[in-house]
């Protein structure tokens, strides 16, 4: 038994006295959930995905890993790349993947002319965003040699039966966010301000809670926004 979008719909109906908002509540719930997902590095939203292999080839397309799994996933941000089957994890490999990746493949003894990686920009393909990656010279034909850990967006809510753990854990927060949109739609600006302040207060609680979790995880310590923004640990 989990909280569902249907419960948000019912709550909005009661709280606004308007029973015609159900479809819009689904849209608004999505916007609120996506907004929440981009406000904090949620531990529970971190995903790990294998990257497949990066064969050393002479064509430019071979240098790019167009991640099939990512084509239908919802990447917010890449955290880091780790080695899986290719041996030990060199410490510096945890350097920011968006910059110069200093790590090396410990199991590969051949030529290593440079260590470089530029991932992360996206291109439009159909209706999804597909991040492109280049990883070189991690010369390996072993499958799943690398794992990427990334922050994922919540799956899109599609109707009354849709669920998400954020809805379970922070139901009041989601409802407040939806209510502020409902109030705006209904032209009730005073109502908007009331629900907005409730949303902001709940949001503060949520971020405190999530930061406490993240800060206690060594490798993620530097990710806590308030710590990062005041200059590091």
């Amino acid at each position: 038994m989990a909280w569902t979008v249907g419960q948000i719909q019912n709550q909005v109906q009661v709280l606004t006295g308007n029973h015609n908002l159900s479809d819009r509540v689904v849209t608004w719930t999505n916007r609120v959930l996506m907004g929440l997902a981009t406000k904090a590095p949620w531990n529970k939203q971190l995903q790990t995905e294998t990257m497949g292999s990066f064969p050393r080839v002479t064509t430019v397309t071979g240098q790019w890993a167009t991640w099939a799994p990512w084509a239908t996933r919802d990447l917010i941000n890449i955290h880091h790349i780790i080695y899986d089957t290719q041996g030990v994890l060199v410490r510096n490999a945890l350097q920011d993947f968006y910059g110069n990746l200093h790590g090396r493949n410990a199991s590969y003894s051949g030529e290593i002319p440079s260590h470089y990686a530029i991932p992360g920009w996206c291109s439009e393909a159909g209706q999804y965003m597909i991040p492109l990656l280049v990883v070189y010279p991690f010369y390996t034909t072993a499958p799943n040699a690398f794992l990427v850990q990334y922050l994922a967006a919540p799956g899109k809510m599609t109707g009354a039966a849709s669920t998400h753990w954020i809805l379970d854990k922070y139901g009041k927060l989601v409802l407040s966010g939806v209510m502020r949109l409902a109030m705006l739609f209904l032209g009730n600006l005073q109502g908007y301000m009331l629900w907005q302040q409730e949303y902001a207060a709940s949001l503060n609680d949520m971020i405190r809670s999530e930061e406490a979790i993240v800060a206690s995880t060594p490798h993620m310590r530097g990710m806590v926004p308030s710590i990062v923004l005041r200059g590091g640990m």
């Binding site: 920011d96 110069n100 530029i118 920009w121 739609f185």
Partner: protein
């Protein structure tokens, strides 16, 4: 799990709901286009980076780019044996000086420096020393934008989870004139969502802003964001 990007017409409906006005015409789509291009400038992130792939043939030192680019960021070169090079970017004037000082540069296997010579829509990418064997170039550049007014069936190239920024931005832009009582609300929501987007894109496990160490004009800093000291692995 898959979140398809929304149609512009769907985003427009959300904007109309926020404004409380349901008879807006197609110009609403243009507001979304304005805001998207605004984001391209305000979100300094590879999210809006673009790549151009080109070839410099054996013995040559330049190639005309197939498209007009913005600011060059990085260049990766793969030669026919599969070796990857990351030559250092030089601005055009300095590049020219270095090439001349070197007088005769023997063709080598590893390009050392590169630049993009601006010339309207026919920019040229130059490397030195010249290519030894055909070389495939992947140029990363910033400054992309949505070049045409969006229409109802378009999808602006922004992931679904960031579309809220577009919606609030367009609502703010329009509300200044047609729903001024909501303008400040929309402005606040827009700036908050935009700030969240920039922050979450800039955060990484070791707190190093992305792209800092990439060679090119943008090396060493990330425009628009505070410099964040490296905390782990530093």
């Amino acid at each position: 799990m898959a979140n398809p990007m929304s149609l512009v017409s769907s985003l427009a409906q959300e904007v109309a709901d926020i404004l409380g006005i349901d008879n807006l015409d197609a110009r609403l789509y243009e507001w979304l286009g304005f805001i998207f291009n605004d984001l391209c400038q305000r979100v300094p992130d590879p999210l809006f980076y673009t790549t151009s792939v080109d070839t410099i043939v054996s013995g040559a030192s330049s190639s005309t780019l197939g498209e007009s680019i913005g600011t060059p960021v990085a260049l990766m070169i793969v030669n026919t044996t599969g070796d990857l090079y990351i030559p250092v970017y030089r601005p055009p004037a300095e590049f020219d000086r270095l090439v001349n000082i070197g007088s005769t540069i023997a063709a080598g296997v590893q390009p050392l420096i590169w630049t993009v010579v601006p010339a309207g829509t026919t920019q040229k990418i130059r490397i030195s020393p010249p290519a030894s064997g055909d070389m495939i170039l992947t140029l990363v550049w910033s400054g992309n934008y949505y070049a045409a007014p969006p229409t109802a069936d378009d999808r602006l190239p922004l992931p679904y989870h960031f579309e809220g920024v577009l919606v609030w931005g367009a609502a703010w832009f329009a509300s200044m004139s047609i729903a001024p009582d909501r303008a400040m609300v929309c402005k606040m929501e827009y700036e908050t969502a935009l700030q969240d987007m920039v922050k979450i894109l800039a955060l990484h496990s070791d707190s190093v802003p992305q792209m800092r160490q990439i060679e090119g004009p943008l090396a060493g800093f990330q425009p628009g964001l505070p410099r964040i000291p490296q905390t782990l692995g530093g």
